[in-house]
Symmetry: C2
Subunit: 219 residues, 2 copies
């Protein structure tokens, strides 16, 4: 059963628990751009990514965004089932950044199983600790790194994800990822261009000098 | 047994588990200013606060600090046992902000019990989710609120904690809490003084107009 691959503790579940989880999981597909989970408004369930890419972000009252982390093949999305724990008091939005294929496990089935399976509860703990770590890393970036470093790191990360140095992204989209205004992004990209690190054209940022960018990003 | 008060799931532990936890817990006291846990360097164990006040913060390479959250009477400090979960990949420092009296449960005893008790594992999950929520709140503050709002909110929070509008804190200490340089704090406090919200004297910030401050903080 494919679900077993997502849970290193699968063998520590009873055959009955394995059957319940497998029976409750449904295969789903969404198109790029679909919002899978929207803050506190819904409680979709656990998402087990089969292929594609999800983005978790927070949204300010004024509509500004900041990307918290991404989920790829074989990752488990916990916060789409955030109602599972009443101590989760923040709203995360989950968006499909590519066409995405996933298993959905309904929240109530999973929650019920956690109450009886210590291995599953502990594994869920590890998933949460791992997302917590990503958010802490991000906070340290925001606090201690300047915007030029963060933007340089972001461009390199995107190039790695896309497998290309030609990034088709507007300055507004980049701003959304980094929680910054479009004008701030434009200003800094122009500085990068003047330094020969990138080349700008309509809707595209081309990385010309990744070494210089990564030196700036200190990565 | 006093430990039971810290764990709403106490009654779901077996008598043997209750005995093990109680037997392993030791009562300890530290003076104000003591560092109880220092990043990834040690793994003290779970701290159950009996009285006093703990501060959890992160530290940049350059020695800048930012306060993540505080723990008071009846709170459980999980990250002082961060080695318990290998997915916790960030370093938090825990400092006693007042003379503090606590129960210490060794990490290995607690970790072992989580592997056999689903209720304890799930409760630990809730504690982590609750700290995660505090950090997300802080990140939203940093991202979306301007420094004047954060400083105003901080002064009001401190006044509440101290039960006094006379805050004995240097500008450097305030900067450490907020992750900002001393100069930035001084400049903003002078602006607050000009606006009649505070009065500054050596080592003291006196809140003169809490209404105006809380209007600024939007709380």
């Amino acid at each position: 059963m494919e679900l077993a691959q997502y849970f290193p503790v699968w063998d520590q579940l009873t055959p009955e628990q394995q059957k319940t989880l497998s029976g409750a999981a449904s295969r789903q597909s969404v198109k790029k751009g679909t919002i899978l989970h929207n803050g506190g408004a819904d409680c979709t369930g656990l998402l087990l990514v089969r292929s594609g890419q999800l983005r978790a972000y927070i949204l300010s009252e004024e509509g500004r965004e900041i990307t918290l982390y991404r989920l790829f093949e074989m990752d488990i999305c916990l916060f789409s089932a955030s109602c599972m724990m009443h101590s989760i008091q923040f709203d995360i939005t989950i968006e499909a950044e590519r066409d995405t294929d996933f298993w959905l496990i309904p929240t109530d089935v999973y929650k019920q199983m956690m109450t009886t399976s210590a291995p599953l509860a502990n594994y869920t703990n590890e998933i949460m600790a791992s997302r917590f770590s990503e958010v802490m890393w991000l906070m340290e970036q925001i606090m201690w790194k300047s915007f030029d470093q963060r933007l340089a790191a972001f461009l390199l990360e995107e190039a790695g994800l896309e497998g290309s140095n030609q990034l088709k992204m507007t300055h507004e989209i980049i701003g959304n990822h980094l929680g910054s205004a479009r004008e701030v992004v434009t200003r800094m990209l122009r500085y990068f261009q003047n330094e020969g690190m990138v080349k700008l054209s309509r809707g595209t940022v081309e990385i010309l000098n990744p070494e210089k960018l990564s030196h700036l990003a200190q990565i």
